[in-house]
């Protein structure tokens, strides 16, 4: 796993973005950018250079699930690993995210250990 990879953090609550950013820094990932919903994330993704997307689900404007579908539908982005970090924990929603092609799913509130575990798992699969 490349620690220099560029990670886009998408969440409408700035506190949560800061928490994720700090946790990622603890894990050695310092190259992060932020967006406050899907609508603002799309142009950042389109500009290129993002290697990993961490997104919330419930956001104003474009929601995380639609951002995920957007990524999977875009030829240039479709292979990008996507980790969803959300308070949504209904069975049907998790199935929906899985069908849309999510790589990992974390429910809030979460711990630093959970974030590490899910990221490790995502990149183990990709690297293997």
């Amino acid at each position: 796993m490349n620690k220099d990879m560029k990670i886009l953090i998408v969440d409408d609550f700035s506190t949560m973005r800061r928490i994720i950013k700090n946790l990622l820094r603890d894990l050695g990932f310092t190259n992060t950018v932020e967006a406050d919903d899907g609508t603002t994330a799309v142009p950042i993704l389109a500009a290129g250079g993002i290697d990993f997307l961490v997104t919330d689900w419930n956001m104003p404007g474009m929601q995380g699930i639609d951002l995920l579908r957007h990524v999977r539908a875009d030829e240039k982005l479709s292979k990008m690993p996507v980790l969803m970090v959300t308070a949504e924990q209904k069975r049907e929603q998790i199935i929906e995210a899985a069908q849309a092609g999510v790589n990992g799913y974390i429910v809030k509130p979460f711990t630093a250990a959970t974030l590490k575990e899910k990221i490790d798992k995502i990149f183990e699969r990709i690297d293997s």
Binding site: T15, A87, Y105, V107, A112
Partner: protein, 264 residues
């Protein structure tokens, strides 16, 4: 009042006859006409009152069939909102408690590092100024070793305290989502109250109905859309007491189990 202006012809004719009778001294006839006029007046008053009662009834009937207020009251949305706000209090309390607890752990560690460094600094000053005997220097070395060991541990503990404090701040996101839901509910109630006022003023004839009616109708028509949106809206953080247990997973472990059953 409207009836003051729109006195009907029969009333005016009889009133003129009353004046004629009174002037000609025909008291019997004048009294009879006066009684008749009072009866006419009372009849129109009762008719107005009847109309008003019917309007009020119609207003409430229309409101009841179209409004979400009964749904809010009977469907328990208001009770849910109270439950949500209570949970917000619980979460903010927990976050504040965690933060204070971690700070109270961290402060003595900072104090011990501060006093340790002060002591070593003064010894180090004397050493660099060659004011220290060999024995004293050996003692300083021992103190330094003890300090470095404990500072090494303390800074790790401080790091963990700071991380705990940081993670506790996630309450802001979770309570924010819950409060947004309650705000949406308050907006719905506000809309319905405005609708009630519009409907009642329409029936009371206090506003230009040609102007207000389409707005009110449009609002009623858009109700279905709102309800559909409501159904599609996300659940947000789990609030204890409001859990649909059949559909909601208990936490990260159950989410992991579900995903691994789906081949993740």
């Amino acid at each position: 009042m409207a009836e003051g202006i729109n006195l009907d012809d029969a009333f005016i004719r009889r009133a003129k006859e009353l004046v004629v009778c009174a002037e000609s001294g025909n008291d019997e006839e004048a009294k009879a006409i006066l009684d008749e006029l009072i009866t006419m007046k009372e009849t129109s008053l009762f008719q107005e009152l009847g109309k008003l009662t019917r309007d009020v009834h119609e207003t409430f009937k229309a409101f009841r069939t179209d409004s979400r207020i009964t749904e809010l009251a009977e469907g328990g949305d208001m009770a849910d909102a109270k439950e949500r706000l209570n949970y917000v209090i619980t979460m903010t309390q927990q976050a504040a408690d965690t933060t204070m607890e971690q700070i109270e752990h961290a402060i003595p560690l900072c104090e011990s590092i501060t006093s340790g460094t002060s002591e070593l600094l003064s010894g180090w000053e004397r050493f660099t100024h060659r004011q220290m005997a060999a024995d004293e220097f050996r003692q300083l070395s021992k103190t330094l070793k003890v300090f470095l060991d404990s500072a090494n541990n303390d800074s790790k503990t401080l790091m963990s305290n700071l991380n705990e404090i940081m993670m506790a701040q996630s309450y802001q996101d979770l309570t924010g989502q819950i409060i947004y839901k309650v705000i949406k509910l308050v907006e719905d109630v506000e809309d319905d109250l405005i609708k009630l006022i519009r409907l009642s003023s329409k029936h009371m004839g206090q506003v230009d109905s040609s102007e207000r009616e389409p707005a009110a109708e449009k609002q009623l028509a858009s109700d279905d859309d709102d309800n559909n949106k409501q159904k599609k809206s996300l659940d947000g953080p789990v609030v204890p007491g409001l859990i649909d247990e059949a559909e909601t997973l208990a936490g990260q472990d159950e989410v992991d189990d579900l995903l691994s059953s789906l081949g993740f």
